[in-house]
Symmetry: C2
Subunit: 324 residues, 2 copies
């Protein structure tokens, strides 16, 4: 492989000049710059990014910690995060924490040792202190940790849209099925809105939490089954993800409850598959692409030591389909 | 932050000894090694992985190039790839090519510049030569490129299982709906098996290809709609993914064809959501976890300059549910 020396020789300049061109440092005439680029191309020179990042103290790598990329919401979010990171010259290291504290901690140590330029945290099991001691640009998704910039969609408004729709459609006893409230996520605001709306409108309600390690499709069904056995009078459910909503359709089908006649369902996220289910799922659309884009914008600004707004709440939208 | 010098001082050894411990080089007594480790821990020392990888010529990073992590099959595969990579001490750089040649090429250049230790290619739009010139350990998924080790599931057997089931269940006119055959993927063997089985058993058949850039749920529906308009007599469809199968259920529902009474459907992959659809999708299960595990095993062996088997075909399984 060609070295800096070969390029310097080919372009008739010093190695220092070649290095300056590579690192965009010092004054270089356009003529010289173009000559160096031309020789690099001729010799098929590929700068060693590792050596360069040592010199620049930048790796151009972002660490992404999510619960699991196998879940539709996070797989779509990861797609857009990587897409916009790439457009900004960054690469993404993928870390699936499976919501295990130990793994999350190990990932953070690993990312730091690799000198990533910043971290996107969408998995939140650690204590606030551990995030604050990171000493790295961090943007969180769906969790507010002290002064760390965060991106979420308008969970409270989404929850009230969903709950009001169920009540407007005539539901008398409504349930909320969502992830563990212990994790202290901004997504819990969906539940807050659910309670406040139900209370405000004098409608009977109850709440079912999934396991702290959530995202297990098999467990949803058992949970929903139990819910209908204990409370057969439930006629409306607000599910905190479209996959939970799909599980509810499936269970209703098995126990001969008609959707939406007997039970009305509102999901959350509007992942791509939501429209594939029959009946198609009424849901609250999170702006997944815009969330991904904004997270990258904020992180790039932080890396470049620019100021950013801490709380970034993006609008949600009710998508009425066939389950309500 | 603590330096090697601080650790050497704390442990009462030379910097060279500390470096040897870190890089696992040369003879070091257990006593010395433990002393160094203890001081590292006390001083909260974190080796700079970038500097270390320069010295070791290893980055411990693997590049993963897939069409899109937003598609259920690739999101589940990526999850397992990252899981087993992590267990083997490797990190995964995520690259979504969106099946664009230009992007695939740029990713390869970028991964090489970052000195990744190896590449997993599950997106295949480039010419054979470009893969062969990589000069890096590479494992491909679902494509055979010359002598590059590859992992796939038994696509031909899967295709014959699916087609035989449709015919056994009484279908008289069957269709195959899959990705573009131009991409020369091993998955095309599903189609090969479909034709051979249909011909061998004297059943009428036809084929519908999705766009080369596939994976767009909206397009599936139009395609399926057209298919039924042109060929209303179709009573069995083998879909090359569960998401296509779900789209078929949806269209059938809209045009009042009963599944499985009027139209029988077999999907492919058995992604997690396959069991959530109503009726639940009969499908060919790819061993996604085992595929991910094997890809990592092969790549780690290649990185360690060990011999591996080139063609690795894992068994598939017919999962009969409610669409047949």
């Amino acid at each position: 492989m060609a070295t800096l020396k070969d390029i310097a020789k080919g372009a008739g300049v010093t190695v220092t000049t070649v290095s300056r061109v590579l690192n965009n440092r010092g004054y270089i005439s356009d003529e010289t710059r173009n000559k160096v680029y031309r020789v690099m191309k001729e010799l098929n020179y590929q700068p060693n990014e590792i050596a360069r990042s040592l010199a620049r103290k930048k790796s151009n790598i972002i660490g992404l910690i999510i619960p699991t990329v196998a879940h539709s919401f996070f797989s779509e979010l990861s797609f857009y995060l990587e897409y916009y990171a790439y457009n900004n010259g960054y690469k993404v290291l993928l870390c699936n924490s499976q919501l295990e504290q130990k793994k999350e901690k190990e990932y953070i140590g690993m990312l730091r040792a690799h000198q990533v330029d910043g971290i996107i945290m969408a998995s939140h099991t650690l204590e606030v202190d551990e995030y604050l001691s990171l000493n790295l640009p961090v943007v969180t998704v769906d969790r507010k940790v002290d002064e760390i910039p965060n991106v979420s969609s308008d969970n409270y408004y989404g929850g009230s849209l969903a709950t009001n729709l169920l009540i407007d459609k005539g539901c008398n006893k409504i349930a909320y099925i969502g992830g563990s409230l212990k994790l202290n996520l901004l997504a819990n605001k969906r539940y807050e809105a659910f309670i406040n709306t139900a209370k405000g409108r004098n409608v009977d309600f109850l709440n079912v939490e999934t396991d702290i390690n959530g995202f297990k499709i098999e467990e949803y069904e058992e949970l929903i089954n139990n819910l209908f056995q204990k409370h057969p009078e439930i006629d409306g459910i607000f599910a905190s993800s479209d996959l939970i909503a799909a599980s509810i359709i499936k269970v209703c089908n098995r126990i001969n409850k008609k959707v939406p006649d007997d039970v009305k369902i509102v999901g959350y996220d509007d992942v791509k598959v939501a429209s594939l289910f029959v009946p198609q799922i009424t849901t609250i659309r999170q702006p997944i692409e815009n969330m991904g884009k904004l997270v990258i914008e904020l992180l790039v600004k932080l890396i470049d030591e620019k100021d950013v707004i801490n709380d970034n709440i993006l609008p949600v939208k009710l998508i009425e389909r066939e389950t309500t």
